[in-house]
């Protein structure tokens, strides 16, 4: 190779690199910056893309509505491809832009674990609405993690409650067999502790069937299910693993009516290409399901998509994962509002102030209705100690074409959850040498 050309190419790209890295940090006082760690490529893209679209659409909607007391929301997406190291790089890249990130949502359990270490140093709240580590509900130890609206333990608890109700009471669960088909990663393993705890309480048997990433090979798993004939199958999958599991259930003749997924296994991309074969399959709805008729969705369609300013395809608006992104964004903008109430209306707030907002969030039904979320979700009320805020969930069932609600509201039993949360977070605190915050610390 011609060395001179290479040298020129190298120096040109070096100049470009420095230009790219040192982009001007335009700081306008009245803008609130949110990094959006998303994945629109790779194995999990079908599920990651609608989430990001929903998140961004709500931010746009919030601006259309006039921002939070006039403060405009700005955001920047960064592609993580569900990989931890890319996620960390994205976080580092975006955290200081536009005067500093308000909060960060990793959208991957692996990235959550990594950011849990970094966020307290940078004083940026990590928001994991419906995922992340379940013990981070304990705000005393996990000061910067917010598993808002639900954790895997609360989800698994609701599932157990649901099948108990179907069977006719917790005492009927004795001797039942439940198989957990899970993504072999920290994400998939989260519910195990709770299911085993509940299994001890009620005398049902939990068998664990891990599926290796990305989950396209499940023949042996379903052969085992066919052999053991469990009474229920819980599915804790993500991405292509979900649809493969349902297809394998179909191929081995396991009744879909006895399959229950977590809320990350119960969205349109999971069942779409199975169609009729997935009929009867149920999944948790993390409060919301598919909500094409809700007020907020109509507003999004009218004020964004009708004007060609929407994100992503129009058909996707109101779907399950889209709604989850939307709700995640809503909770955050509302937290900004709360924080502004204390630190000055119409002012940009910092990550630390945002944490106060997130810890004092009180979204009652009236506020939710006003925001257009009537019927979509229930009130969320967080405190300094409880970073989850709400443990409600429903079940919805796929009828071959769309998701329909098939149960009433359940609430996770804090009597079961709380001791587990305390135990696990105490262990974390001792490993990391953290002194838990006291109620006095919270008032600061």
């Amino acid at each position: 190779m011609n060395l001179r050309k290479l040298a020129i190419a190298a120096s040109v790209s070096a100049i470009g690199l420095s230009a790219a890295l040192v982009s001007p940090a335009a700081t306008a006082a009245e803008e609130q910056f949110f990094p959006v760690l998303a994945y629109r490529t790779g194995a999990y893209a079908p599920n990651g893309a609608p989430w990001a679209n929903g998140f961004v659409d709500y931010m746009k909607l919030a601006n259309v509505r006039g921002g939070v007391n006039g403060v405009k929301m700005i955001w920047e997406e960064c592609e993580t491809a569900y990989a931890t190291d890319r996620g960390v790089e994205c976080y580092e890249r975006l955290k200081a832009k536009h005067g500093g990130a308000t909060a960060v949502q990793p959208l991957s359990t692996g990235i959550t674990f990594a950011l849990t270490e970094k966020a307290p140093v940078d004083k940026i709240p990590v928001i994991t609405a419906g995922y992340g580590r379940s013990e981070s509900q304990n705000g005393a130890v996990f000061g910067w993690n917010f598993p808002l609206v639900g954790t895997y333990w609360s989800g698994a608890d609701v599932l157990v409650q649901h099948i108990a109700k179907k069977e006719g009471g917790f005492d009927k669960l004795k001797g039942k067999k439940i198989a957990l088909v899970y993504h072999d990663s920290p994400y998939g393993k989260e519910p195990i502790a709770l299911l085993q705890e509940r299994g001890k309480m009620h005398g049902f048997d939990v068998s664990l069937l891990p599926v290796a990433h990305p989950g396209v090979e499940q023949k042996a798993t379903w052969l085992q299910i066919r052999q053991n004939k469990p009474d229920y199958v819980f599915l804790w999958g993500w991405g292509v693993m979900n649809s493969t599991a349902i297809k394998e259930a179909q191929a081995t003749g396991y009744p879909r009516e006895k399959m229950y997924g977590v809320w990350w296994s119960g969205a349109e991309p999971d069942v779409k290409d199975v169609g009729e074969g997935a009929k009867g399959y149920s999944a948790l709805a993390m409060q919301h399901g598919a909500e094409p008729n809700s007020k907020v969705i109509k507003e999004v369609l009218a004020s964004l998509h009708a004007k060609g300013q929407g994100t992503g395809p129009k058909e996707e608006v109101g779907q399950v994962l889209y709604m989850r992104g939307l709700i995640s964004a809503m909770v955050q903008t509302e937290a900004v509002r709360v924080a502004q109430g204390r630190y000055g209306k119409g002012k940009r707030i910092t990550g630390e102030q945002m944490r106060w907002g997130l810890e004092n969030l009180n979204l009652d039904q009236k506020t939710l209705d006003a925001l257009g979320f009537a019927g979509v979700m229930r009130p969320v009320h967080t405190t300094c100690i409880d970073h989850m805020g709400s443990g409600f969930a429903r079940i919805h069932t796929w009828d071959g074409k769309k998701w329909n609600f098939s149960s009433d509201w359940y609430e996770a039993d804090q009597k079961v959850l709380r001791p587990m949360v305390m135990l696990a977070s105490a262990k974390y605190a001792s490993e990391k040498k953290i002194t838990p915050r006291t109620p006095e610390d919270c008032k600061k």
Binding site: A45, P210, V216, K219, A220, L223, T252
Partner: protein, 309 residues
């Protein structure tokens, strides 16, 4: 007993599907000494192209016939795969003749990245459906012999049958046609083949095209089973132990290796897995291949390695 037979059958079926991907590896390695890591990406690319064209063609032509749409999509995808194969050979591997194995391996990995990117840019990164009318519901057989009968997955059965047909066709192609003979000659000795007037460049193009078509068949079958999605490219990793167990240069090896690995991993997962927590099938397949290699370092049917100083 019935369950054992079911597991065994399940293993054999997945084995055939692995063989289908493994064949692509073997074809190319045999003729050009390139260990083509891009095979997985080619399968994905083929599946995506099949899925999307069968969706687009009815839109473009305004027709509503699933069979015609699929047929046209297969033809178009085959042309696409031929073009891809030719481009890979022409733009990359032609320039890397006589390089070390590791360099070639990395080059094909680079091609794999490129194909992943192109495929997703053109065809999108959602999960797409390939509907070639594969039967989805299971059937029960021999219910009189065993209690509960044996569950047969018809889709797997059809897939295994197609795979077997493909192998048969390839064998006939290699054994009976003039081009096939030329290919075997090249595989045996590049220089000798060249000296008797076989055009190496053309042979390599043909081999890549055949591998591209094999990828299309694998892509359609796997895609119809799992949906055409990015994760399809990882099936290549499942096919690797098959290739080394069977021998990098042997077509029958790919088939037999596939069957051994398929049965081995299913039996291990079902009967051994529960004792160690499950999820062992991936590494078990590799361990199985490794154990075979310790006895035959060149794989079951691979060419014997002779060392001379």
């Amino acid at each position: 007993m019935a369950f054992f037979i079911e597991t065994l059958l399940g293993g054999l079926m997945s084995g055939m599907l692995y063989s289908l991907v493994a064949l692509g590896f073997v074809l190319i390695y045999k003729a050009s000494g390139v260990f083509n890591f891009a095979q997985g990406a080619m399968v994905l690319f083929a599946a995506l192209s099949m899925a999307r064209f069968s969706e687009w063609i009815p839109e473009w032509l305004g027709m509503d016939n699933l069979f015609m749409a699929n047929l046209l999509a297969i033809v178009v995808s085959a042309l696409v795969m031929l073009a891809v194969a030719w481009l890979i050979e022409y733009l990359v591997l032609r320039h890397l003749v006589n390089q070390e194995g590791a360099t070639l391996l990395m080059a094909t990995l680079g091609i794999g990245y490129f194909l992943d990117g192109v495929g997703q840019t053109i065809f999108g990164s959602d999960i797409y459906k390939i509907d070639v009318g594969m039967p989805k519901e299971p059937v029960m057989m021999l219910e009189s012999v065993f209690e509960g009968g044996i569950l047969i997955n018809k889709e797997d059965f059809v897939a295994a049958f197609i795979a077997a047909m493909l192998v048969l066709a390839l064998t006939i192609f290699f054994q009976k046609t003039a081009t096939g003979r030329a290919l075997r000659a090249v595989a045996d000795d590049h220089q000798a083949a060249q000296s008797i007037g076989i055009p190496l460049g053309r042979i390599w193009v043909i081999v890549w095209c055949v591998a591209g078509l094999t990828a299309l068949v694998a892509g359609i079958i796997w895609g119809s089973k799992l949906g055409a999605q990015f994760s399809l490219s990882t099936v290549a990793l499942r096919a690797l132990p098959v290739v080394i167990l069977g021998g990098l240069t042997s077509v029958p090896g790919a088939i037999l290796g596939g069957l051994i690995i398929g049965v081995g991993e299913k039996l291990s997962e079902v009967y051994l897995g529960p004792y160690v927590g499950g999820g062992i099938e991936i590494w078990f397949a590799y361990m199985l291949a490794l154990v075979f290699l310790l006895f035959r370092p060149q794989g079951l049917f691979g060419e014997k390695i002779i060392d001379r100083v």
